[in-house]
């Protein structure tokens, strides 16, 4: 191809600077330490295409080499709903605010399963993507964010099942149903906040992997998925509201099924709890992010 290569002799290269770029190109500064509160959320937008590709990869790979394929997205919540209906609805006769129990529990399972999936996946996301973290730079934040977003695909599919169930039970879909969206956002942000903490901790302490299944299980019982929040005594309501998923689940029932309870006074507490978790999670994540590649 050229003489330099074939003879193995060095041939001075003339560095021909192309006229276009030169000094206008952006400067990157890499420093030993960064200010504590530099969250650099703008990086997320700069790398939004990679975020998209990571979500796309996980969605695409998710049900590869399974016999039932994407049907799992529908089967999982339906099977869970059947189990809950048999155990809590039929056998324990759990009160369900005058809503058919299957519908009552499925509406709660929608955000719950999204949350549990997003929490589990994001906690494990950095370790699962360690081969990338060790070799390529990108804002590490997009890894847990992508893991959380993947859950939304399954969520959309199970939402369709809910619509089918509502028709079956002759429940009128009110225009206010779209109000479930803010609660969806709250569920996603809650999962992300906890995911940020756990994924970063998981890099250093693999104990997290063993804690997460237990955590989600306990968390589910602390959330009115199988029962109604109206069972909780009023004096405990504020404390109960510290669990943002309570507000989310009750909010879903209120928006989609018109259940009376709603999230009411618990919401401000829930939102405050999430904001606290998210901010501390981001700060912690950003603080340890720079050493991920050394520790993973």
């Amino acid at each position: 191809m050229n003489s330099a290569l074939e003879t193995g002799l060095p041939e001075p290269l003339v560095g021909v600077a192309s006229p276009v770029e030169s000094d206008e190109s952006p400067e990157v500064l890499i420093e030993a330490s960064e200010p504590l509160l530099a969250l650099r959320l703008g990086d997320l937008w700069k790398y939004h295409e990679l975020l998209f590709f990571l979500v796309w990869r996980d969605v695409k790979v998710r049900y590869k080499q399974t016999v039932l394929g994407a049907a799992w997205a529908i089967l999982q919540p339906i099977l869970a709903m059947l189990m809950f209906t048999v155990i809590f609805g039929r056998m324990a006769h759990m009160p369900s605010d005058n809503i058919p129990y299957p519908l009552f529990v499925y509406t709660a399972l929608l955000p719950w399963q999204l949350f549990a999936f997003a929490l589990t996946e994001s906690s494990n996301s950095l370790v699962a993507n360690q081969h990338l973290i060790r070799k390529v730079y990108f804002p590490r934040l997009i890894v847990p964010v992508a893991a959380v977003l993947v859950g939304l695909v399954d969520f959309s599919v199970s939402l369709l099942v809910l619509v089918g169930m509502m028709i079956w039970y002759h429940v009128r879909v009110a225009p206010t149903a779209v109000l479930f969206l803010p609660f969806l956002v709250l569920a996603v942000i809650t999962a992300l906040s906890v995911g940020l903490w756990l994924s970063a901790l998981n890099i250093k302490y693999r104990d997290v992997k063993h804690i997460v299944p237990f955590l989600t299980q306990v968390w589910m019982f602390a959330t009115p998925v199988a029962y109604s929040a109206s069972l909780v005594p009023a004096k405990w309501k504020l404390l109960y509201g510290l669990n943002p998923m309570t507000g989310v689940v009750e909010g879903f029932r209120w928006a989609l099924l018109g259940s009376a309870t709603g999230s009411g006074p618990m919401m401000p507490v829930s939102i405050a709890a999430v904001v606290f978790l998210l901010l501390t999670g981001l700060i912690y994540f950003r603080r340890v992010e720079r050493s991920f590649a050394d520790l993973v």
């Binding site: 060095p10 600077a17 420093e31 990869r57």
Partner: protein, 417 residues
Amino acid sequence: MSAAVVVENVGKQYRIGEAESYQTLRDCVARAAGNISRRFRHGQRERKAQAERFWALRNVSLEIRKGDVVGILGRNGAGKSTLLKILSRVTAPTTGSIRLRGRIGSLLEVGTGFHPELSGRDNIQLNGSILGMSKAEIRKHFDEIVAFAEIEKFLDTPVKNYSSGMYMRLAFAVAAHLDPEVLVIDEVLAVGDTAFQKKCLQKMDSVARQGRTILFVSHNMAAVSALCTKGVLLQDGRVVATGPITDVVQKYSSASGVSSTSHWTGDYGDEYARLKESWVRTVDPGGAFDTASDLEVGIRIQVLQPIEGLVLGFRLFSQYEHELAYVLYDDAESSSPPTVFPGEIVKRFIIPGNTLAAGVYKIGVSVGIHNFRAVVLYSDQGSLMFELENVRGIGRRYPTAPLRGYTSLFRPNWPVI
């Protein structure tokens, strides 16, 4: 021409063992408990912490001009990879700062982020995006990438079904179409067969000619000399030389401290036999002294009188003067030592790749007559010295430098079940 990369006083400290293994809470608790009990017993905290840390890089300052193609040289453990990791922002420096002008792309490995379940088509997009290409760039280069990799027919096959050659070609093809202003490349050429390496070199050479700034780490001196204009020599984490590539390559070879004697010729012995020649080389002609390479140790002697029970072989010593092996040409034969008649005898011993760990080794030739006399024994005559680098071998992912306390002598490819 302006500076593309300015490195100021960069240092990187690791805790020994940190890079290799994650911790568990239990370890932390155990260590804390250990510290307390030690303090209790000795009345003071052990000063072990300092021994557990080492500086992979120290006070590194460099200025790289736009359009420079810079080769980074140094032995294993000199800090080359750490420097590239910091430049490509994979890890943060412990001290100092770096200013980079322009978009930076790094290739610390080919095929980063390939997913085995996804098709070639999908992996081009995914890998391109991971390496920092935009969707538009990937679209623009898609056909060229496919053509370069020669995988048109298998575009929609999952890459897990690719042959390793196809996989490597595809991975390199994507990487080759990355065009940032500053490109950081580590050992990419250490993969694939010779033909593929040549293709990669040519591609890199053409990239270099487009006036891009390139930082390149390789153990392939020929490649470094051919591609690079400038060189940086690292030793124990410090910059010991910078300048035109020829000067730096020369310094690297002479400063390496080991005068490797891979070939000896002479005439030494007695009236029975004379040692004429000894050598150590890679079985693959022109190959590198790498832990993965098969090595050939050769001995040529001239026999002057019939010898009953010829002893012919060599001793292998480590750099720490351990005698690692004493090998004779007829060891494996059960019959009594054969009688040899006057004439020339050449024996070649093969040390299979992935036997020895990276390091310096010495070979002492041994010629004699069984139960009668030693012709050449414990003599410098015919002795050889060579150094193995671990670029492709087993354990390459982990530091193997003695500097960091890794002093194994063997790095065998033992089956793991």
